[in-house]
């Protein structure tokens, strides 16, 4: 069912060619939503849907876009999709939409989108482009979820709002690490994930 190029497009971004860890794309809007696990999951799903469909749409019309206005065309397609996601979220999960505030809107300027549109969708057929969008979205979501997992577990002792660290620990003198909740620790966490990832994949190391 999957040809070689589609398979690479779908699975490559999960680790070897991860958008956050290797291509360093889309850091902007992602780190601020990772203090808790739930917003990180919602953000990951939204970005996956938007990358997949924007890749598909741009790939379908790629032969009709004049080269010198392609950035505006891409921005319009992406902005329309982001508005749809924003409105859906407002309608069905208003609390979450409040919690994510401007960061849903900022998906428009998420570099993953522009990067994948420029690098892949403009020169490939719709089906591989769609898979590439899904792969990159999931690769981004995985990093988001791992960061949020550690930040919520160490920072508040909960996961998805449920208490994980038992009360007995607190009685013995354990306390939550408030520093993990603060935004700068998201960067340090991603730095550590990059460290781990590159020590596993030696060829990605910089000289």
């Amino acid at each position: 069912m999957l040809s070689k190029i589609s398979k690479e497009a779908l699975l490559g971004p999960l680790s070897r060619n991860n958008p956050v860890l290797v291509q360093i794309l889309g850091i902007c809007s992602c780190l601020a939503v990772t203090a808790k696990l739930e917003p990180a999951i919602v953000m990951g799903i939204s970005v996956t849907a938007i990358t997949a469909f924007s890749n598909l749409i741009i790939s379908l019309i790629r032969n009709t876009i004049p080269n010198n206005i392609r950035i505006i065309v891409q921005l319009v397609v992406v902005a329309a999709l982001v508005i749809i996601v924003d409105q859906v979220l407002k309608a069905y999960n208003y609390e979450m939409s409040k919690a994510l505030s401007v960061f849903i809107g900022l998906i428009i300027t998420n570099c993953i989108l522009m990067g994948r549109l420029e690098a892949f969708a403009l020169s490939n057929k719709p089906w591989p482009s769609f898979l590439d969008g899904i792969g990159n979205g999931i690769g981004y979501a995985i990093v988001l979820i791992v960061v949020a997992f550690f930040r919520e577990l160490l920072g508040s002792g909960t996961l998805l709002g449920f208490q994980i660290i038992p009360q007995a620990f607190y009685d013995m003198g354990y306390s939550n690490n408030g520093l993990m909740i603060l935004p700068p620790m998201a960067l340090v966490t991603v730095g550590c994930i990059i460290w781990w990832h590159r020590s596993r994949n030696k060829d990605l190391q910089e000289q």
């Binding site: 360093i24 921005l75 900022l106 300027t109 570099c111 620790m185 998201a186 730095g191």
Partner: protein
């Protein structure tokens, strides 16, 4: 006085990089040496100062619920606020294009030094982010929005120049291999963010 307060606050306390992580991609990619990162900082500040008041006027006289009432009674109930995202990004993208053309015409030397960064600014999240924060905070006038834009831009410049200076020195230190390059830059930014947090709670 209010405006001065907002200005200082948006430079240090609500710093675009360290408090909201906006404009991170170009921040990490371009901060390899001080002079180019300073150029990019100036370009971002300039774009913020130009686009924020424009977006403010658009938001207040076109998009918000009831904003169209200057057209007549029957328009008073129109709510176009769902179009805000697409309008803001269109203003930013077209202003980038205009500024690029103007700079190329009137100051070729500045254009040569900024050239590659100018088109990149259209997708810099700091600028769209600022517009969205402005919408959220309900500023009183276009002047306040301009002050907020200038403050945020200067804060961004300060952060990128600081990181570039550290990275220039970093070339001489012995970093574990897997951490070299982007990994250590992330951790550095995190540490700088913690340092900037000491400004929290300052009231002017």
């Amino acid at each position: 006085m209010e405006d001065l307060n907002l200005f200082i606050k948006s430079i240090f306390i609500d710093n675009m990089i360290f408090a909201y992580f906006l404009g991170m991609c170009s921040f990490l990619a371009v901060s390899k040496n001080v002079s180019t990162s300073f150029g990019l900082g100036i370009a971002v500040t300039f774009m913020l100062v130009v686009t924020l008041p424009l977006n403010y006027l658009l938001d207040n006289y076109l998009l918000q619920p009831g904003a169209l009432s200057w057209l007549g009674e029957e328009f008073a109930t129109v709510d176009l606020s769902f179009l805000a995202l697409i309008m803001f990004i269109a203003v930013i993208a077209s202003m980038t294009q205009l500024v690029e053309m103007a700079v190329e015409k009137f100051s070729p030397s500045l254009y040569a030094s900024l050239g590659i960064f100018l088109p990149l600014i259209a997708v810099n999240c700091a600028i769209l982010g600022c517009a969205l924060f402005m919408q959220q905070r309900d500023f009183g006038s276009a002047w306040t929005a301009t002050v907020y834009g200038a403050g945020s831009g200067i804060g961004w410049t300060l952060a990128i120049v600081g990181l570039a200076a550290i990275r220039e020195k970093l070339a001489y230190s012995n970093i574990p291999k897997p951490l070299r390059g982007i990994g250590i830059t992330f951790i550095l930014t995190g540490l700088m963010g913690i340092a900037f947090m000491s400004f929290l709670g300052i009231k002017l």
